[in-house]
């Protein structure tokens, strides 16, 4: 489903944010991506939904080579991927409800369906009571949960979450990961970048560990780094 072939990423000459990564992720896998701050986790994820392009190497999503994907077809890729951004990327001038609805509206879904799905997603993250608030009017953790709701609302085939629990307390973090687990059961691939060892311990999954852009370990289900 997600395949990296000798992928390198240099933002700046001779500094590799990602260095020679080859990896294959199957449909329905649940994967944690870990590593120190600046190890390249976000960069790795960004290349999957083509916010960044590799400096070298190939990435295939569903057997489609991203290097060959034209800009005006990008939306097709992104509709299959639900993304929780590390910095949330919420629209300040739209309510939480509207923020979560965006991926559906962008897909031209009917109003009734949008309504049902948005409320569903907000219920999962426990934020229905905040649906008419604007993002700047809720707490950091609440914003993060809005971002999570938006990522899962459109029934994507892949979910990518970049430190989705950075602003959440342990209890809530576990709940969120459990939501991802539940989604994963339906065959949806889940990829979570996290630095929370607690979570890595509590949820025994495949763990990819990055260090200075290199994939230093790839431990299968049940393994703990």
């Amino acid at each position: 489903m997600i395949e990296f072939y000798h992928v390198y990423k240099q933002y700046i000459k001779n500094q590799f944010a990602i260095s020679d990564i080859s990896i294959s992720i199957e449909k329905g896998e649940f994967i944690f991506l870990t590593g120190a701050s600046g190890a390249g986790k976000s960069t790795f994820l960004k290349m999957i939904y083509k916010e960044e392009v590799p400096s070298r190497g190939q990435i295939l999503i569903n057997s489609m080579n991203l290097n060959l994907l034209p800009d005006n077809k990008l939306y097709k890729l992104r509709r299959d991927i639900g993304i929780v951004f590390q910095d949330f990327k919420l629209l300040e001038n739209r309510t939480i409800y509207e923020n979560v609805a965006i991926p559906l509206i962008a897909r031209n879904e009917k109003k009734a369906i949008v309504d049902k799905m948005v409320i569903n997603a907000l219920t999962l993250v426990g934020l229905t009571h905040r649906r008419n608030y604007f993002p700047t009017h809720v707490s950091g953790g609440e914003q993060q949960r809005v971002a999570i709701a938006r990522a899962i609302v459109g029934n994507p085939k892949i979910i990518i979450a970049d430190e989705p629990t950075g602003n959440l307390d342990t209890e809530l973090s576990i709940n969120i990961i459990k939501i991802f687990e539940r989604i994963n059961i339906n065959g949806i691939t889940v990829l979570i970048a996290t630095h929370d060892n607690n979570i890595l311990k509590l949820f025994p999954k495949r763990i990819l560990r990055l260090d200075k852009g290199m994939l230093v370990s790839d431990i299968g289900i049940g393994g703990i780094s």
Binding site: D71, N72, L74, R78, I83, L91, N93, P103, A106, G154
Partner: protein, 296 residues
Amino acid sequence: MNLLKTAIINSIINIMRNKVINILSLGIIAFTLLIFGIFNYLSLNIENFTQNFSKNIVAIFYFNEGVEKKLIDDLTKRLENNVLVDSVTYFSENQSEIQFTREFPELKYILNEFKSSPFPSSIELKFKEKKKNTKITSLIEEIGKLSIVESKQVNLDWAEKITTLSRFITIAGIFLSGILIFISIFIIFNIIKINIYYRKEEISILRLVGATDWYIRIPFLIEGGILGFFGSIFASIILFTLLKLIPIYARSVIELSKGVLSFDFIPTSIFIRLIILGTSIGFFSSLFSIRKFLKN
């Protein structure tokens, strides 16, 4: 149709959301178009005004002695059919004499010494209003060259200058209107560019969550169109009000007679032009401005 309706409603909601910037844009667009409108109106009206002078031109043609009356009648008839000509008055030799006495009453008694009138016969040509001075001038030249005409007398001194002025204003008007259209487009284009630039984050987020380019583009196009449309409506209202107010003010100050400056002449074409211009500038500015944000 229904899709367009929701799109328009959403655009209005969106405009409301980004109130500050959009009200500013609207204001600037309105004023840019207003300036354009004023200029346009001014060049139209001054042109119109200078053409009014045509009715003040009087040309007198003196005929050679002993010219057949029939030839003069033919000429008179021909001139009366000319679109430029308002009236042709024939003065026989005697009538010329009467006129002479009117102009030089001190010399009346001289004429008593003649048996027949010593004056040549003549025609006096007056012109319709709102005719181009250039055309009138060339008609006068043409008649002057006829073999039956001995000499002519025309008060073209001022008329020529007015013609020059009129020509100049027309050309300057075209020139300046060109510049102003360009400037209007430039300003509105950039206002909308700022507007979009200001929302580049929104665009990038929309792209990241899987919106198509057209999904992103259409609201901006509609918003651009709406801004342009309402901008031009405001501009039209202000222009109209100004045009209604200026003459009242102007007349009270310089006692303009209605006849001289026909300020009541407010061509609706200006408003139509403004609205079409405004709306399409808004629309196309959005179309072009958004392009660079739809890369990657």
